[in-house]
């Protein structure tokens, strides 16, 4: 840590202590940014994150008081006109990364076998057989519009460079499976399999 980094770190810690004691207010932030104009952006960023974090603690506390798990706070699905199929990332992995999720987190979050999400990402499942239920629940988990999420799922084809040391010919694409074949091949329990095989009208 350089001298400057250390000075910034110390200053932010003192700001944090005071802001926690008094609350984040325009006056408090203005006083600190005036005192340390060269660190004004760091002070503002820290203040915003502190405000956000304090709110989250309060919301989670309220959820626990109401007998609910704080993890059940779900992202609000909002109309997102800026997210069009033209702006959608080319793979599901990339799309989820932009909202802070890995393929594994995403699969666990919607309670589906991780292999299914990997197969969707890799384009191993026939697109036309992927049900609306997956698109709706997936979009809600990612906090995106369903149309945008669907655009990602319909284009994702994230096959990596697979080693083919034993092959004497060029690698060939494997046979795609249908959604039903893929779901039935997982080790999910029967209830989950039934859930993911039934679709919504």
């Amino acid at each position: 840590m350089t001298v400057t980094d250390h000075e910034l770190d110390e200053m932010l810690f003192r700001f944090h202590c005071e802001a926690t004691e008094q609350a984040v207010t325009p006056t408090l932030v203005a006083r600190w940014t005036a005192a340390y104009p060269h660190y004004a952006e760091d002070i503002r960023e820290h203040a915003v994150e502190l405000l956000d974090m304090s709110f989250r603690a309060s919301a989670n506390g309220a959820a626990i008081s109401a007998g609910r798990s704080p993890a059940r706070i779900e992202p609000v699905t909002v109309p997102t006109p800026g997210m069009t199929s033209e702006t959608a990332p080319s793979t599901l992995r990339e799309a989820l990364r932009t909202v802070g999720l890995t393929l594994r987190d995403f699969a666990d979050g919607i309670d589906i076998a991780r292999s299914i999400v990997t197969d969707v990402n890799d384009g191993e499942i026939v697109k036309e057989t992927i049900p609306r239920r997956f698109l709706r629940i997936g979009a809600a988990r990612a906090g995106t519009a369903t149309d945008w999420f669907k655009a990602v799922v319909m284009t994702t084809n994230d096959k990596g460079e697979l080693p083919a040391f034993k092959s004497t010919g060029d690698p060939l694409p494997g046979r795609q499976r249908t959604w039903e074949e893929a779901i039935r091949d997982t080790d999910m329990d029967e209830d989950r399999i039934a859930f993911w095989l039934s679709d919504e009208g």
């Binding site: 926690t20 502190l50 709110f55 989250r56 997210m83």
Partner: protein, 220 residues
């Protein structure tokens, strides 16, 4: 140095052992526990120090779990693991500046480090946020000052606010904390805090209000 090698200067070992035996560490201030950990003899008191550090790690994990953004990778668990791991390392390192910070104000230092982690993550990650295009949606938005949620609605709205896109939520929280859209002299504004124009700041707050009302089923 003599004390550090052969004893545990200023630490009442018997008192800490007694607290552990009575399962009563919760009544001790975490900064006091951190201070004790830093002064206990690392060889003679290895077990006692381990028990105290275990308690601090548990306490820190619980505290951060209530505050971490679940949209971080692995739902924030990696962030918590990193912050708590660094906390333990800095407490047992007599030269670590953070160790002194944990002695001085344990919770504040912990939160400070979580915020550092979140800020780093935000810089490294391009988070997709809904773009503003009122022209596309055609939704007319009222002035936010006129919304006036009742206390009951406010309580119900907490879950909804927590699930709002980052920018909307932060703008909403800043507005609620008394920040204006534009900077008055000698003050800070939502626009300055979020690095956007006052018009965008206002639109984000309005969007947040509109979504909260929509989710609550309140007709405006």
């Amino acid at each position: 140095m003599q004390d550090q090698e052969h004893g545990s200067e200023g630490v009442d070992r018997e008192d800490w052992l007694d607290r552990i035996n009575r399962n009563d560490l919760r009544s001790a201030k975490p900064q006091a526990i951190a201070a004790a950990c830093r002064r206990l003899n690392p060889e003679r008191d290895v077990l006692l120090r381990g028990r105290l550090l275990d308690h601090l790690a548990k306490l820190a994990t619980d505290h951060l779990a209530m505050r971490v953004d679940r949209r971080l990778p692995n739902e924030g668990r990696d962030a918590i693991g990193e912050v708590v791991g660094n906390m333990v390392a800095s407490i047992i390192d007599p030269d670590a500046a953070d160790g002194r910070g944990f002695e001085h104000s344990f919770i504040n230092k912990l939160e400070h480090r979580l915020i550092d982690h979140v800020r780093r993550w935000r810089r490294e990650t391009v988070v997709i946020e809904p773009q503003l295009s009122d022209e596309v949606t055609g939704h007319a938005l009222e002035r936010p000052d006129g919304y006036g949620l009742s206390p009951e609605d406010e309580a119900m709205a907490q879950d909804i606010v927590a699930g709002l896109p980052d920018n909307y939520r932060k703008a909403f929280l800043l507005r609620r904390a008394g920040f204006a859209y534009d900077a008055a002299s000698r003050s800070e504004s939502i626009a300055a805090m979020l690095g956007v124009t006052p018009k965008t700041a206002k639109a984000w707050v309005e969007k947040a209000h509109a979504l909260i009302h929509q989710q609550l089923g309140i007709r405006r």
